[in-house]
């Protein structure tokens, strides 16, 4: 359970750090190639996790372009680091896409009005993101949901090694195959509980906005 939370938590953090600024930028600015970037982002939102796993596997394997570099900065296959990379690729398009939609939903005149009150460009972006906070938190919830329950990619790049890369989802697959249904069900309940509690915490972060 701890490894599941550590891997998915780290992947979510990286996804939020990339996805929220990217989503805000795409929602707020108009530039050449924006439509193509949006199309790519939407495609990324529907990436089959197992294909992402295959892609990361090929990149990080010893004969792959990154595996060949032998750099200490690049994680090896069958490590938690490789699983974080795969989960980040799965979740960041969701975080960026939902953030973009949330930012585009904020009244466009708000930007002009906060600028008229003396906001810098950065303060304007902050204000828009704060106004779009319900949608931004939904983006994080969606990103988390896509990776905490994901099995294909982590199985491929992690290898389901006991004590090293075995997470809740891959453990459930293994115990089911072994016929240990009680243990598989118990692990499933733990996974659902983690997901439920995390979403409750996120909803609390949204504050009273939903009550209005």
């Amino acid at each position: 359970m701890a490894l599941s939370l550590r891997v998915s938590g780290m992947a979510l953090l990286v996804s939020a750090l990339i996805g929220i600024p990217l989503g805000a930028m795409m929602g707020l600015s108009r530039f050449r190639g924006r439509k193509l970037l949006i199309a790519l982002l939407y495609t990324g939102m529907g990436f089959p996790p197992v294909v992402v796993g295959l892609f990361v596997y090929l990149m990080l394997s010893r004969s792959g372009p990154f595996g060949q570099l032998n750099s200490p900065l690049i994680p090896e296959l069958f490590t938690a680091g490789a699983m974080v990379i795969a989960q980040t690729i799965i979740s960041f398009p969701l975080v960026a896409g939902f953030t973009m939609a949330a930012v585009m939903g904020v009244d466009p005149y708000l930007r002009q009005q906060v600028q008229a009150l003396g906001a810098t460009r950065w303060q304007t972006v902050q204000s828009v993101l704060t106004e779009a906070r319900v949608g931004v938190i939904v983006s994080i919830i969606a990103g988390f949901g896509s990776i905490i329950s994901e099995v294909g990619a982590v199985m491929l790049v992690g290898g389901n090694i006991e004590g090293s890369t075995r997470v809740l989802t891959t453990a459930i697959v293994l115990e089911t195959r072994k016929g240990n249904f009680e243990l598989a069900i118990a692990l499933g309940i733990i996974l659902l509980s983690i997901s439920f509690l995390t979403n409750v915490a996120m909803l609390r972060l949204q504050g009273r906005t939903f009550d209005e």
């Binding site: 005149y109 002009q112 009005q113 008229a116 003396g118 906001a119 810098t120 303060q123 906005t209 209005e212």
Partner: protein
């Protein structure tokens, strides 16, 4: 009322090659209320956006508080923060009335603003609503919050873009009273864009008529209404269509 706050020289603004504003010369003095009247699409709101430096002019220069700006030279933040706008349709932040009024001060890095916010809320008659969510207010109350969040900044220039359009007579009266008080107490220059010639008559020291992006006539309020030079001004003052 002798100090010149703004001096516009041969300022134009075009969008996609279409010229929407052409002001050959315009001075705005400290402490005056200048009303800008004219039909829709005459360039009034564009003029305000240029005066608030929300957009650069396409050509020409704007001298503001002894510094000159052109399409290539935009004012620094500190100078830009000495002018603000109250818009026709205020977009308030999804926070309390108090937080909305304090917002501009927070942007300026101010940490202690309790007394300023309190005093401003009193001036606009919204003390009892300080902790109410701003988005639950009526149109008139929301516009008073918008005025309060601008007033609390004590700007040198306050631009008002049809602040009383679509409001009931009670709120129109209240806002006009606040505008008067603001001008008298803070000696701020006010540029008021309005469709309402009677409001211009009640509030302004000078009135400018804008037609097709140009200033057709600008004069003291009495001259503008009593002895206009341009026949279109006389027609506009009588409430006739002018194009």
């Amino acid at each position: 009322m002798s100090e010149i706050v703004y001096h516009l020289k041969e300022v134009t603004k075009s969008y996609n090659g279409r010229r929407v504003l052409q002001v050959d010369s315009l001075d705005i003095q400290r402490g005056e209320i200048l009303a800008v009247v004219g039909p829709s699409g005459a360039g009034k709101s564009t003029l305000l956006r240029l005066l608030n430096f929300l957009e650069p002019p396409t050509s020409g220069s704007i001298r503001f508080l002894d510094s000159e700006f052109s399409p290539d030279r935009t004012p620094p933040l500190a100078l830009r923060r000495r002018v603000t706008t109250v818009f026709q349709r205020p977009i308030l932040l999804n926070r309390t009335v108090w937080a909305n009024v304090a917002y501009g001060l927070q942007l300026r890095g101010q940490r202690e603003f309790t007394s300023q916010v309190q005093a401003t809320l009193e001036q606009v008659g919204l003390t009892s609503m300080a902790h109410q969510r701003a988005r639950t207010l009526s149109g008139g109350e929301a516009q008073r919050v918008a005025l309060a969040r601008a007033m609390v900044l004590q700007p040198d220039v306050l631009l008002l873009d049809e602040p009383t359009a679509n409001l009931d007579p009670y709120n129109v009266g209240l806002i006009e009273e606040i505008v008067h008080m603001l001008n008298a107490k803070q000696s701020a220059s006010l540029v008021l864009v309005t469709h309402n010639v009677f409001q211009a008559k009640r509030l302004a020291h000078r009135v400018a008529l804008m037609l097709e992006g140009q200033i057709a006539e600008i004069a003291d309020v009495d001259s503008f209404f009593e002895s206009p030079r341009d026949p279109r001004t006389a027609a506009f003052a009588r409430g006739e269509m002018v194009y």
